[in-house]
């Protein structure tokens, strides 16, 4: 069975929050109704979001590195939030592995959010139901959109292509290849939740340049005026002369 997921490349994420705002824009205008916002233009604005970008500092000054870390529902293969739901509102689709909430069945008991170690679920204070990332399920199957736009809104908006979308169960997919070849990993593997979303680690790119690559040692066309030092000692030529 397919398992759709996101693969997030931490090496290229610049922390611009475009995925956060485009996610909110798409999902608040969707058929599931708006995502609650409280005091949006006042002090302490708060509201429901499916996706957040956080920032971490790794190392001690001055040897530090900044990590921007987008975080949304990981669509676990063993989602701990699903079996605890008393109503069956929280479910995992068998056909594509997306974990969804049926807003018409949810009673708003918040127990599923307690059972998610990642804090991926947010309670909508207006609709009084639990909400979470849907992987833009209303977008990725939309036949009215051109095929290259049938991707989650966050993936479409990412200016650095830090977000890849695809089927992690298909070994030939772009996301599987990225996980395989670029060290894709899961968050909190200790709980056995098997998150489908993977993260690609930061990488150090070192370009090793040797001195003789900067100056052309062989210098065939005498372009660079390279004069090799001559020996001070007596050579065969001196002796012959």
């Amino acid at each position: 069975m397919a398992q759709l997921a996101l693969v997030i490349d931490l090496n290229v994420c610049v922390g611009c929050h475009a995925c956060v705002t485009s996610c909110k824009e798409w999902n608040t205008s969707g058929q599931a109704g708006p995502m609650f916002d409280d005091r949006p233009y006042d002090e302490n604005p708060t509201g429901t979001f499916f996706n957040r970008v956080q920032t971490y500092e790794i190392g001690t000054f001055p040897n530090t590195e900044t990590l921007h870390f987008p975080k949304s529902c990981l669509h676990c293969e063993e989602p701990p939030c699903v079996p605890v739901c008393p109503t069956g509102a929280s479910y995992k689709r068998t056909e594509d592995g997306i974990v969804l909430v049926d807003y018409n069945k949810c009673i708003g008991c918040k127990y599923c959010s307690w059972a998610c170690p990642y804090g991926a679920r947010e309670f909508d204070e207006k609709q009084k139901v639990m909400k979470k990332c849907t992987l833009c399920v209303d977008r990725i199957y939309d036949q009215n959109l051109p095929p290259n736009e049938r991707k989650p809104a966050c993936v479409m908006s990412c200016p650095t292509s830090a977000r890849l979308f695809g089927d992690v169960h298909d070994p030939a997919s772009e996301v599987s290849l990225a996980i395989r070849e670029r060290g894709g990993y899961q968050l909190m593997p200790e709980w056995g939740t098997k998150p489908s979303n993977h993260y690609l680690p930061r990488r150090k790119t070192h370009l090793r340049i040797h001195e003789d690559e900067l100056v052309r040692a062989d210098n065939p066309l005498k372009k660079e005026d390279i004069r090799h030092e001559t020996s001070k000692e007596v050579s065969l030529d001196d002796w012959l002369m």
């Binding site: 929050h17 956060v20 005091r39 002090e43 302490n44 604005p45 708060t46 509201g47 429901t48 979001f49 957040r52 970008v53 956080q54 920032t55 971490y56 500092e57 790794i58 190392g59 001690t60 900044t66 990590l67 870390f69 975080k71 701990p80 079996p83 605890v84 739901c85 008393p86 109503t87 069956g88 509102a89 069945k105 949810c106 009673i107 708003g108 008991c109 918040k110 127990y111 959010s113 307690w114 059972a115 998610c116 170690p117 990642y118 804090g119 679920r121 947010e122 309670f123 009084k128 139901v129 990993y185 899961q186 968050l187 909190m188 593997p189 200790e190 709980w191 993260y199 680690p201 930061r202």
Partner: protein, 323 residues
């Protein structure tokens, strides 16, 4: 976790209701074995069942305030195969129904001779009592497992959580029964007070063990596993928003360290120490002392439950360290 008052009142009120029913049925079982005299059907058992039911209904009403959509609460019975919460939602009305039947059978002094023993009176209420006792313990286990079943809330994920729910509910129920006996069955005051003291002391040992265990807990998750970066120095610089969210409201208790630590001692004193002293002082039937014992213990349990929730440290908090 953020302690929600709806859940604090739900768990403490049904605990009293459950424990009080067990106290009533303990007397019936003892009386059946002729260890203590039988009590009046109406003024003791029927009235007692009604009061137990009031506590259970009180808990049910408190739980409604926890739900976003209480009008759909009936849906919560469907996932009993996987969800302890669903099982609790089934066990609570089941127990309430059985307590009601138990009270009705006593009120009308109904009896059925199941065993074909004409001398053996009260077989129907005894059978209903056994069934209700099973339902009571099933409800205790469901309530405890709702919390003990979430394995990454490590403060809760232990069988001791279930044991604590049973013993704390039992202690408060028997404490209320002592108070009830002062008015309805004065000869039982000593019996109930004795059991209350015993259960309270055992509960102190098990609750103390969970405090001891939690103080030495090693968390499985840390910031390294949370974001998957292997480095000893990782500090969050931004959680992605400034005005708070569900994640900052639901999982943090927002109490100062001083208040948090004080509440631990407050609940230990109010739930265990003072009620035990008051019960021992009130053994001669001094009403005010026994009333105070129950009231103090119930208030202590509210603090105990607050602390129970506040102490649980959710791994998602690793993602929400700095605004």
């Amino acid at each position: 976790m953020h302690p929600a008052f709806s859940v604090i009142f739900l768990t403490t009120l049904i605990g009293v209701g459950q424990g009080f029913f067990l106290a009533l049925f303990t007397v019936e079982s003892y009386a059946t074995l002729k260890l203590i005299p039988q009590q009046d059907h109406v003024s003791f058992y029927a009235l007692g069942s009604a009061i137990s039911l009031v506590f259970l209904i009180g808990g049910l009403i408190a739980s409604i305030f926890h739900l976003g959509h209480p009008e759909r609460a009936w849906r919560a019975i469907v996932q009993w195969k996987t969800s302890w919460l669903s099982r609790e939602v089934i066990a609570l009305p089941l127990m309430m129904g059985l307590v009601f039947l138990y009270g009705v059978a006593h009120f009308f002094n109904l009896d059925v001779n199941f065993l074909q023993l004409p001398e053996f009176k009260g077989q129907l209420t005894l059978l209903l009592g056994i069934l209700t006792t099973i339902a009571t313990f099933a409800l205790f286990i469901c309530t405890g497992m709702v919390y003990a079943g979430i394995k990454f809330l490590q403060e809760w994920a232990n069988p001791i959580t279930v044991v604590n729910y049973i013993l704390l509910g039992g202690a408060s129920g028997f404490c209320f029964a002592t108070l009830f006996a002062v008015f309805q069955a004065p000869d039982l005051v000593l019996f109930y007070a004795g059991w209350t003291v015993i259960i309270t002391i055992v509960a102190l040992i098990t609750r103390g063990f969970s405090l001891y265990r939690n103080a030495r807990l090693k968390y499985s998750s840390n910031i390294q596993s949370a974001i998957g970066i292997r480095h000893t120095h990782i500090k969050q610089k931004a959680m992605g928003f400034m005005g708070g969210s569900f994640n900052t409201r639901e999982y943090f208790h927002h109490a100062t360290v001083f208040l948090f630590k004080s509440i631990k001692w407050i609940f230990l004193i109010l739930t265990f120490l003072i009620p035990t002293v008051l019960l021992l002082m009130g053994l001669n039937g001094e009403k005010n002392l026994l009333i105070a014992a129950f009231v103090v213990q119930y208030i202590g349990l509210l603090f105990e439950r607050w602390f129970f929730f506040a102490q649980a440290n959710h791994p998602q908090n690793l993602y929400y360290q700095t605004v």
